[in-house]
Amino acid sequence: MSRSYFHDLEDYIIQLAQEEMIGDFMQFIALNLNKNNPLAHSKEFIDKQFYNKSRHNYNILLAREKQSGEIIGIIAFVDSAFYDNASDKNNFVWLTNWLVKKPAYPTVGLSLLDSVFKYAQKINIGTVGNNEIAGAIYKAMRFTTGQLLQFFMVNRQMDCFSLIQNYKESYKTLPGSSACPYDLCIAKPSDLDAIHNDNIIIKTKAYFINKYYKNPFYKYTLYVVRKEGRPQCLLVMRTDSYEGARALRIVDFWGSPDCLRHVHPAFQQLLVEQSAEYVDFYCHGIDPEILMQAGFSQNTMDTNLVVPCYFEPFCPVNVKINFAYKLQGNQHFTVFKGDGDRDFPRIIKKGL
């Protein structure tokens, strides 16, 4: 990773973004994606998401036309070590932004992707939130592709909803007995050491602390499910709101999903305490039957039911979140909305 150029092609080069190139990068985003995207106007946001402190440059590859020096494509990524550089389990790269100027050199997009493969070498690679065209490319490259399933649970003490649209009682899944030894409470840092997971991505205590506790843009709360006092799994949550109505969002998960079967009473209590309409959970790799047993319903997105995902600004539509990944083995794998950089703010407050 010490080379400044990954590719030196006939018409363009691909290089890691250095400090002095971020202005050009931001301009490229503004012109080719959206001038309101935080990547177009907030260097602090870019630093937080992509600045690699050990290399003193950015986890962003730029394709530059040789003749003009103009940026013609970018790809950004986050690797496992980004949130925990002490971890010896740096085994995953999440692709986050992949954008090519149109019209461009025809295969610059693939050249950028290939450069990340070269960076990742033989480790695992994935993405969350890719568009359909990128999905077709990943599929052709034999990635596992699909859409995260959205599960949700409404506050059963509420009779009318302003965020969820066209909700029917039939979506309520009534769980079994609420008498169980499981409870849901705010996690202590020591809990993070006590939870085990066989997922191929290693998420460490430092990962959760750096990514979520210290997040400057969103206030995340880490909850732990305990059985008889012992931590079983971790849920990373935050709140979205619109005109006084609130939604709880589960964005990350760590531990054994089995214990979720028993958390319906605890989630109902949390929804009431937070005066939230619903809690939702975008995920892949967790058995839907477990979540149904917990009292969640699946938003299949083929009815008129709407469980909103976008709140910046609020947009009452269902949102399908695509994913793709390629592993070096055949392991069971889970993906959540918070993986990669999918759970990022669309609006950055002034000063950031």
Binding site: Y105, L110, A140
Partner: protein
């Protein structure tokens, strides 16, 4: 082998390539050869030739027909 590959390319790119030299058949001379078309080409080659390319080779083959022919030598 070259003829077979040319036939596949003509279908994928929807263009008569009979007047092109091997060196001329490259993305810079075929505007329709973008990233997605390249992956369509790879998929077609894999199906017809019954091979499965490594990711590195998929990228290398973006250089053009000459590179594709050279890469295919590895798979024969």
């Amino acid at each position: 082998m070259e003829e077979k590959i040319r036939e596949i390319m003509q279908v994928v790119f929807d263009q008569d390539l009979s007047e092109f030299t091997v060196e001329d058949i490259a993305p810079k001379n075929l505007p329709q050869w973008d990233s997605l078309a390249h992956l369509n080409l790879i998929t077609s080659l894999e199906q017809v030739l019954e091979v499965e390319f490594e990711l590195d080779d998929m990228a290398t083959m973006m250089e053009g027909l000459a590179s594709i022919l050279k890469t295919l030598e590895k798979y024969q």
